[in-house]
Symmetry: C2
Subunit: 156 residues, 2 copies
DNA sequence: TATAATTAGTTGACATATGGACAATCTAGG
DNA sequence: CCTAGATTGTCCATATGTCAACTAATTATA
C-alpha cells in the first residue's frame, strides 16, 4: 500500500511538462511539413513505407503508427488521392491490401527526410549529446512504466 | 552554415521517443479518465477552472490549454450540456462569457484529482526524484528550443 | 464623435482520432 | 469438407483539433 499524499507534486508536474513539450514539438512539425502540403500523420505513413519495398497492410500500418485501423482507412484514402501511395491487391489474402509508395511518394519522402534530420539537429542546438542520451533513457523507462500502468487500468 | 550529415542520428531518434512516450501517456490518461466518462481534454478544462472562482473567458481557456478558440466552443458546449460548467454573461464585456464550474463540476474534479496525483506517483514508480528533475530540466530547455525553431519556420 | 481596427465567440469545411457494427475472407477443428 | 471463430478493411457516430470567414461588441484614433 502506498502512502501517497495525493497532492500536485513534482512528478505530476513532470508529466504535464512532458505533454506540453511533446505538443509543442508536434505543432512545430505541423508547420514544418506544411511546406510540402502534408500533415505529420501523413508523413509518418510515408516514412514507414519508405523502408518497405513490399509495402505493408493497413493493419500493419495501424500497429506501427499506434492508431486504430479505422483511422488508417481515411489516411490511406487521402494519400492515395494524391498519388503518393497505392493500394495493391494481395492474391495471398484477398481481405488485405499491400500499401506501397508510388515513385512520386518515394521522391517526396526522400526530399523531406534530410530537412527533417537537419531540423532535429537544429532543435537540440547546443544541448550536450550526453544529456540527450540521459533524457532518452528516462523517456524509455517512463514509457515502460506507462504501459504497465495502462495494463493495470485495463484489468477490471 | 551547419555541416550536418542529414542522417537519422540519435537526436532525431530522441525526438521520436519523446513523441512516443507522450502518446502512450495521453492514451493511458484517456483510459484513466474514462472511469468518470470524460476525455483528457475535458478534464483539462475542469482542472484549470477549479482554481478560478471568477471563471475564465473562452479565449483565456484557449491560451491556457494551447488550442484554437474555435475548439473551445465545442469543448465548452459538451461540458455545459453535462452541467459540469456554465457560461455566465459578463456585463463588463458583452462579447465574452465567464466560464465557471458548476457545483457538480467542482465535485467531479475534486474527486478525480487525488486519483490523478496518485496515478502520477505510480507511473514514476521507483524512478529517482533527482532523475525526474533532470528530465524536467531537459524538457523545459527543449521546449524553448522548439518554440524558437517554430518561430524561424514562421518567418518567410 | 464617427469610423477603423481589434477582440470574442460561432460556424462550416476539413483532418485526425476512437469505437462499434458490418461484410468478406481466411484459418482451425471436428 | 464445413462450420465456428478470427482477421481485414470499411462505414457510421462522435470527439478533438485546425483554419478561414463571419457577427457582435469593444477600443483606438483621426
Amino acid at each position: 500500500m502506498s502512502k501517497s499524499k495525493a497532492s500536485a507534486g513534482p512528478r505530476y508536474q513532470a508529466l504535464l511538462q512532458l505533454l506540453r513539450t511533446s505538443e509543442a514539438l508536434w505543432n512545430s512539425s505541423r508547420i514544418f511539413f506544411s511546406k510540402w502540403d502534408i500533415s505529420p500523420s501523413q508523413f509518418n505513413v510515408l516514412n514507414v513505407l519508405v523502408e518497405q519495398p513490399e509495402g505493408l497492410t493497413q493493419i500493419e500500418l495501424s500497429r506501427l503508427l499506434i492508431m486504430h485501423r479505422s483511422n488508417v482507412t481515411g489516411l490511406v484514402d487521402r494519400l492515395e488521392d494524391r498519388k503518393l501511395i497505392q493500394r495493391k491487391d494481395n492474391p495471398n489474402d484477398r481481405r488485405a491490401y499491400r500499401v506501397v509508395l508510388t515513385p512520386t511518394g518515394r521522391k517526396l519522402v526522400e526530399k523531406i527526410l534530410p530537412a527533417y534530420y537537419e531540423a532535429a539537429e537544429q532543435i537540440w542546438g547546443d544541448f550536450p549529446v550526453k544529456k540527450t542520451k540521459e533524457l532518452v533513457e528516462g523517456l524509455e523507462r517512463l514509457s515502460e512504466n506507462v504501459e504497465k500502468f495502462s495494463a493495470t487500468l485495463g484489468e477490471k
